[in-house]
Symmetry: C2
Subunit: 569 residues, 2 copies
């Protein structure tokens, strides 16, 4: 069973819950973006995802990428699908019109990538890397480089990579040792080895543009000595550059994406941005990239949920409690409480996650395009604080929740047949890349919350309550969480001054507490958009996960609080 | 890096914490079993595990079992290792001397299988199935069958299977439809298809003895119509019987063990026990089998912890908070709080789990051999109530905890190189087989706790406190958990009378609450055995996980309680 996006759910959240078209139309750039256009774009995207990309998921896992003598062959059909994808204009969806893009909102790109990841995580890695490269080149490269590469990257005709990690330099980029030696013609020769390079070599596009962190000869050690370089697979004159794929990794999953070891052998490249500011050039795109990873998590969990839900509605196993009168020999799996709980719980994470991720994508549009500086600052604050939370909490849920969905299949879940175990394997990497989830937690608490004495998060939390207009909603509990978290933040600020290690011990718990608060807020927004739901035919569709949230997800908040408070003493 | 058992930890728990030799010597059968003998047996076992079984783990995963034309070829070295294993007498360790066994305590067998699973889960599946078959044949088969099969199974010269599951009959064995037709000579002809048969076909031993659930022609539908049959791969006259391996499953992990689809084509077999009592014959061995699966979980988690601990002590990455003065460019991974937390938390689960699992194995010895009926009944109660808790909680921890250990490696954890991702994949199945973890929870709460109105669990919980002799220990918190759980049990008993569905909604939470209570008890026993630990060189070895238990594991108790209480209303 190939994945098919459920567009009606996505439209409901974008239109009914978030009223996205109205927000977007307040921006001069998107005055033309109405509800019809948004629906039409996403319906088309969903069609492409379901018809072209999803059918390649299984063989992508089973055949995988093959390596031979420096060449990578992607699984059957991957190249044709990618060629169709970029030629249809999908990578350029949210790129600026002056770069050949369609100039549509980031939120549409976000939904596109959620659907793509759900259908085929491995394949999606390739175009997923374009958007960071586009932003990076657009904002930091010289006009000459832009003229040569920007449109090719915007359109997706050429694919791109991010070459950061080296053996012994993973989370800690300050240890990077690749060297870049300036040449008389203004180019550089790069030498060193990069590992874990997704799409470092493949046959999907005719050229590959590598963005490479390296150190100039006179650079200081540590992160401040790093500069960013553009190194193409094929040089402008058509010759092959000295970037060699030495091998691809054997991985737990994600076999449809080649994870390469790249050796730069005095490879020709050009500097992007200012010497010593390489990390800054990359950090520009980090919130967007991390949001993409959070969306991968949501997509993968959606794919797992769909499989498990379908299986549970079709297969019978044992008597469910209280159902002794059925004519069949056994009851549907979905009628068993433990299975119902698994399914509704994942649904609560997915739906609430979508509200938060799409909100964040809308806020990215505000950051880029809103005329009012103060509104841009609020949006910036939201993205900065919420993105690491989404990345960590929803990739964790993708892995744990898809494993729960696997459980619905019993022994059938452990075998390849139903495709659910692939999701568990594929999703695991999302907890690691683009900054491990532990680093997301430190990013949130240490680098963002404590850095401004808690001011930013306090304002953000307060804004969650002010947007609760409808006083009939049971928002008390959200109110008490906001109050608790605000006070807790102040305690952490005060205590951390004397004990700088403290925050590192409780960062994960703090991130979880924020995630649960945001999730509750998201569900209040869903419930506000469905005031009369009790009477409708599909009431259970939204009421069941809302109940699951209350019963099984939110109790973790008090536990996280108690863990942090015990540390505070 | 191949797994090596840490015998010193195991000896400490058996000898210092549990004082196992003294308990065992109180049994007439084990009067000769002293501390030296126990150490010697386990040291030898550890040697075999480390030298013979562990080195085959990686190729077992990578090469896997191969299927061709009804034959299964196990990975290179598996057959030789298995032949050495049974010839050295390891399968017969705890079998009765009259059956050719060594008559040693079950607890030694338990430790052996924990070590084997840690070293090579796939290989261990083969001998792991012998013990249930041995008990089953010993207690239920006719003298003629016993004469033909019991010693071969006891010694492990012939391997065995359990053929229960069929397509559409997994957790619900009542749906089994394989037919057994009596023949004039007293044998039966079995016809049907069984799936998920571990070791259903292989080249490890010269014969395979299948124990098969099937239905006599006149049997009633449902579980009470099932009988048990013995069907050998080779009949006593040397001819091949009509059991055919149709294929083996492609699985998420456990590639070293063939999971077979077996077709019985009027295959000759003999009844084991009484017609219609097939399930009873199998349930006899269920506690022992489930304990083995719990031990697999502990073994796999130990293996994952060892890998992650070694990596974290060797690799450097970023500055750890509060360590700005080191001469190196970065600090050891183990110095980072989030990583320390992962490692100490798993250690707390493993060490406490060992206390509980070894206690349970000792209680199984009491059940079998204690002269006093009342002591046997107490032991029976412990095994009955604690086994499903260990199976569910420790297999879940094996999967989640090994995934946490994977996180310690960063991106390196996701690739095959370090072997950690194999543990995550292999361990996942333990949450499913021998009764899914959800079924364990129902077994505990519905079939055991509620069935006697809570009397058994109440006595067991009380016994946890009475064994806390040393009033200096901080057992308050255990006392309050016992009190809370006892009251909660009474509430559940009372409420369930009117609402039989309730227990199914909270069974998982109840099991977790019991697991955490038992884990705390286990750690109090460890701490009692180390009264002067603060002064010793390796104090951190036990103090760190004890602290992890308090900080990060036990807070879940209150959360589970709140979830159950919300349901109770």
């Amino acid at each position: 069973m190939n994945h098919q996006p459920t567009l009606s759910d996505i439209h409901f959240i974008l239109h009914e819950v978030l009223r996205a078209p109205a927000s977007l139309q307040s921006l001069p750039n998107f005055a033309e973006v109405d509800a019809d256009l948004m629906r039409q774009v996403l319906d088309e995207a969903g069609k492409f995802v379901g018809e072209v990309v999803a059918p390649l998921n299984r063989s992508g896992d089973e055949v995988g990428c093959q390596f031979s003598q420096g060449q990578v062959t992607t699984p059957p059909g991957f190249k044709e699908a990618y060629q169709a994808f970029w030629q249809a204009g999908w990578p350029a969806l949210a790129c600026a019109p002056e770069d050949g893009g369609q100039g549509l909102p980031t939120v549409l790109e976000a939904v596109l990538y959620e659907m793509l990841s759900a259908a085929n995580h491995g394949w999606t890695m390739a175009p997923g890397l374009l958007h960071g490269a586009y932003e990076c080149i657009k904002h930091h490269a010289s006009d000459e480089l832009k003229a040569r590469y920007l449109e090719k990257i915007a359109s997706g005709e050429w694919l791109a990579t991010m070459c950061l990690t080296e053996p012994h330099a993973g989370s800690d980029l300050g240890l990077v040792s690749t060297r870049a030696v300036p040449q008389p013609d203004g180019s550089y020769q790069l030498s060193g080895t990069k590992i874990f390079i997704s799409g470092g070599e493949h046959d999907l596009s005719e050229n590959i543009v590598h963005l490479v962190l390296a150190r100039l000869p006179d650079a200081s050690p540590g992160p401040k000595g790093l500069s960013l370089f553009l190194v193409p697979k094929f040089l402008p004159d058509g010759t092959r550059s000295a970037v060699h794929c030495e091998r691809i990794e054997e991985k737990m999953g994600l076999h449809g994406s080649a994870t390469c070891v790249l050796r730069f052998d005095a490879a020709t490249g050009w500097i992007v941005g200012v010497p010593g500011r390489g990390l800054n050039a990359m950090f520009v795109m980090m919130n967007a990239a991390r949001l993409h990873v959070a969306l991968q998590g949501m997509g993968l969990l959606e794919a797992a949920w769909q499989k498990a839900q379908a299986y549970a509605q079709e297969r019978r196993q044992m008597r469910a409690p209280g159902r002794r009168t059925s004519a069949a020999q056994a009851d549907l799996i979905i009628e068993h409480p433990a299975m119902r709980r698994i399914l509704d719980t994942q649904r609560a994470w997915i739906d609430g996650g979508r509200v938060l991720a799409y909100t964040t994508a809308l806020e990215l549009d505000m950051v880029k395009h809103h005329p009012d500086a103060q509104r841009r600052a609020t949006a910036e604050r939201w993205c900065s604080l919420v993105t690491p939370v989404l990345k960590a909490a929803w990739t964790e849920q993708a892995f744990k929740g898809s494993s729960e969905c696997l459980q619905v299949f019993g022994g059938h879940g452990y075998v390849r047949e139903w495709g659910i175990e692939q999701i568990v394997r594929d999703s695991r990497v999302s907890m690691i890349y683009e900054g491990t989830n532990e680093i997301q937690a430190i990013d949130l608490l240490v680098r963002k919350v404590l850095a401004d004495g808690g001011a930013g998060i306090t304002s953000l939390l307060a804004s969650l309550l002010s947007s609760e207009k409808n006083s009939n909603q049971p928002s008390d509990s959200l109110g008490s969480k906001v109050k608790t978290l605000t006070e807790l933040t102040q305690q952490l600020v005060a205590t951390s001054a004397a004990d700088p290690t403290l925050a590192y011990w409780v960062a994960d718990d703090y991130l979880r507490a924020v995630a649960l608060t945001l999730l509750q807020w998201a569900w209040l927004r869903i419930q506000q958009a469905r005031p009369d739901e009790a009477g409708t035919a599909d009431a259970a569709r939204w009421l069941n996960p809302a109940a699951a949230l209350q019963h099984w997800i939110l109790p973790e908040f008090a536990m996280r609080l108690s863990i942090i408070q015990a540390r505070l003493g």
